[in-house]
């Protein structure tokens, strides 16, 4: 995650889920879990650790699979040009 998280670290993230990428000027919206996931990843947490944080902070049941969801989120970040 390391070299990539510098790219993430530069993103501005508001409390309302608004994301600004100073490199490109692009803006994004993240949902509530996306906000937390993005904060964790910006802090350099691994996807697994990020998934654990999501499980702690949100009410989920046994049918959810946050690890898979965070892996998908990382792909979304890549799709958005926010990760190499």
């Amino acid at each position: 995650m390391d070299p990539e998280s510098t790219r993430l670290r530069d993103l501005a993230l508001s409390d309302t889920g608004f994301v600004f990428d100073p490199l490109t000027g692009h803006t994004f919206t993240v949902n509530l879990t996306g906000q937390l996931a993005l904060r964790c990843l910006k802090d350099g947490l691994s996807p697994e650790a990020t998934a654990r944080r999501l499980t702690e902070e949100f009410e989920s049941d046994k049918n959810t699979d946050p690890v898979r969801d965070v892996q998908d989120f990382v792909l979304q970040l890549r799709d958005c040009g926010l990760l190499e």
Binding site: V30, G34, A37, L38, T64, C80
Partner: protein, 445 residues
Amino acid sequence: MKAKYEPPLIVRHSLAGVNKLGSIPAIRPMSSIDGVRIEELVVAYGSPLFVFSENTLRERVRELRGELGRRFASFDLGWSYKTNYLSAVCRVFHQEGSLAEVVSGMELRKALAAGVAGQQIIFNGPAKTAADLTLAFEKRVQVHIDHLDELALAETVAEGLGIVPEVGIRVSQSDLPVPTWDRFGFHLESGRAIEAARRIVRSGRLGLRSLHGHIGTFIPNPDAYRMAALAMTRFARQIESELGARITTIDLGGGFASHNTLHAQYLPGEEATPSFSEYVEAIASGLEEGLDGAETPRLVLETGRALVDDAGVLVATVLGNKRLADKRRAVIVDAGVNILPTAWWYRHDVRPAQEILGTAEPTVFFGPLCMAIDVVRDRVMFPPLRVGDRVVIRHVGAYNVTQWMQFISERPNVVMVSPKGQHAIIRKAETLETLLLQEQMPAWL
């Protein structure tokens, strides 16, 4: 209290400045039908599952009959069998006073087998055989002649039976604000229709009593019906004055739009579709203008989809999620276009069958077939679904359970829910045995 978990999601704001995420009006779940929980039905009858509301069927047909009754002293509805000929659905319409409108020997025999009297059946279609016409004339079915060869055949059959049946002719029209359907019937403006009328009256082997037209399907424009009614009425008066044959019935076929939304349509059908009252008003004003004081004939309508679409839903179960190359979320459900051919015409309204929380994002619903064409609903804003969740595809009562294909998998159960909350299968799910029963192995293999 903790917020509910949903998969994390990021969406880039498009250049047009439209935020594709979040603040979309919440999609209202549909968790029951006439008081019966959808989950209960799926547990009892499996998934996918077609469910018909008897109550909605009756409400729709009563509404149309009410509108007709206010404007016409004499009218009939003919239930368009091809739209949905499941026996239970037909029975509801017949109980509500509808005739049967059939377009093939099979549909004719199906109506007769259900106990519908011959005089209560209208027989349309371009492909009536000698055997079909013999049965129809023997049972005094109202036959509408489609073309000259069929006319000759009908005359021969009638002569063979030693009777002079009363028939109608199907008339096609061009001067309407809809695409011309001239492949059915005798064309009005080019003079084919009056030629056919002359031929019937002069030969005297059939009696000409009715005119039939069906100007197209899913016609969102009531004025097209005013114009069709006007032209048909004028034509009836021309026949009466020129040939002395009295036209006692004008049948304007079906074609009213249902509450669905066509792929090319901008406004959703639930907002754009005219009411029965608007269609009936248009027909009444066309007839009145064309009659110009003459005696009003009996009006017949063969409304199909507008009566039955709303009454049917297809319940499906989520099998999986994936993300596509263009970032759309894709949901795979267990109901495909093999049982929902109307997905090719409509942007069907899809609802979750349970409360779902989470952020809506562009979603495509794929069916279970290993075929690229199997798209149940393209691009709809939908919150995240999980494996095992149910979705309800609405307004699927017309044409699906007749046009569906036994393709790749068996066709599922169809059930009806009564106004009292009873429910029962009205068509059993197919099994592998159903399929194998029709096949035979040649001895040399």
